[in-house]
Symmetry: none
Subunit: 132 residues, 4 copies
């Protein structure tokens, strides 16, 4: 089952609200269970280059069904997934991407947030996740 | 001057409303004056492949400051802009992309709609344009 | 032998002057004998999407040592070079690209112009050629 | 607000002058506020491969509104933005890219310089910045 546009808009709304609270300007992207784009918003003044990063974080989180930061630990030099970022047209493997689940725990998509430190990106993404 | 996120959301909202009225499922993309993505929505059940087309229509409309269908007339075999689509990482030159202007007539971005016939795509894009 | 930066700047200056005379806003690109970029200028208000087209016209003209429009005649459906535009990361085969020669007639680069009708693009490119 | 071509030419002129003073051959690129190319110059004998790097440095500096070297510190193995270079069609995150601001401090574009050590690239880029 896939996330609906209505749900994706709620996810983005919650993430935006959190970003405003924290005084941040974010790019927020939501993909569905097929890792295809559902909704996106760039807050006024947010980094232009973060639009693509937000989308790639959302895709990466759904491609491997885990927060992007987890993959990043394994893609460091010497680690098992070293340079996995070269696949799928470019992955982003630092924090800010998180899978989205329905009430039954099934993955229905993912959110990707970019525009600040990776900790802030992750915090805002988590606020998006909690909208569901 | 660039379109704001609030304006872009209004544009998408109007386009979505029109699509619902017409019984259509659309991908709707808005870019700013620099042809960078501002907002995007894929209505439930809309074609997956139309997400990229909607974005490319919006970019194309801003790249050349005219409705995409106008360019398509000139890019036919034997016409003056034949195969212009090979530039800029891929253009889409059939109807559904329209520049967005502010009240002074200055271009502040563009909308791209994809998901039905090109006539329907254009009609829904026009509804988006009229939101400003 | 390659075009120098000084010569390329003269080429662009002449093309710009012609564009101003004709009331046009152009993107003008110059490549050297290796089809590598030497100089580029986008006049204020010129189409954003024409930056890539101007470069691709210049490259195309040097790749095949003839005006881009000549190649376009041969790349039409049914003609011998049909869809040659798919090569070299994207060619542009309508008028506006012309090889640049030194006084001995040797090709030292090419100019590509984009921003108006292909006839105007070609006229402005020719003004650039005449600077040498 | 975007940088004008006249301003971009002044930026490149200043950077070139500095490069000549230092005995260097540089590729110098200027993009506008939307990260779209405005002007470019490759000095005679400068590295061919640095044309693309200069453009990517300028884009990267505008995409994230900071000098490219700052991003490079954070994209090292083990750091928070490791492998961010895989986004946006390829970033360059070593020094040589700097945002360009108007007198009010608003970012109106960016300069990217490539052709020598990264320290020299940065120094020449800075000379370009100071032209405004």
């Amino acid at each position: 089952m896939d996330i609906t546009l209505k749900e994706a808009e709620k996810v983005i709304e919650n993430a935006k609200k959190k970003a405003v609270e924290m005084g941040l300007k974010m790019n927020i992207s939501v993909v569905d269970g097929g890792a295809n784009p559902v909704a996106f918003a760039r807050m006024d003044g947010a980094w232009l280059g973060s639009a693509d990063i937000a989308l790639k974080k959302a895709k990466t989180a759904r491609y491997f069904d885990m927060p992007t930061g987890e993959i990043g630990k394994l893609s460091q030099p010497g680690e098992s997934l070293y340079n996995i970022e070269h696949s799928n047209g470019g992955l982003i493997t630092f924090p800010g991407g998180i899978p989205l689940k329905n009430n039954d725990g099934a993955i229905i998509g993912a959110i990707g947030v970019s525009g600040s430190t990776v900790d802030n990106d992750h915090t805002v993404a988590k606020a998006g996740v909690e909208a569901l």
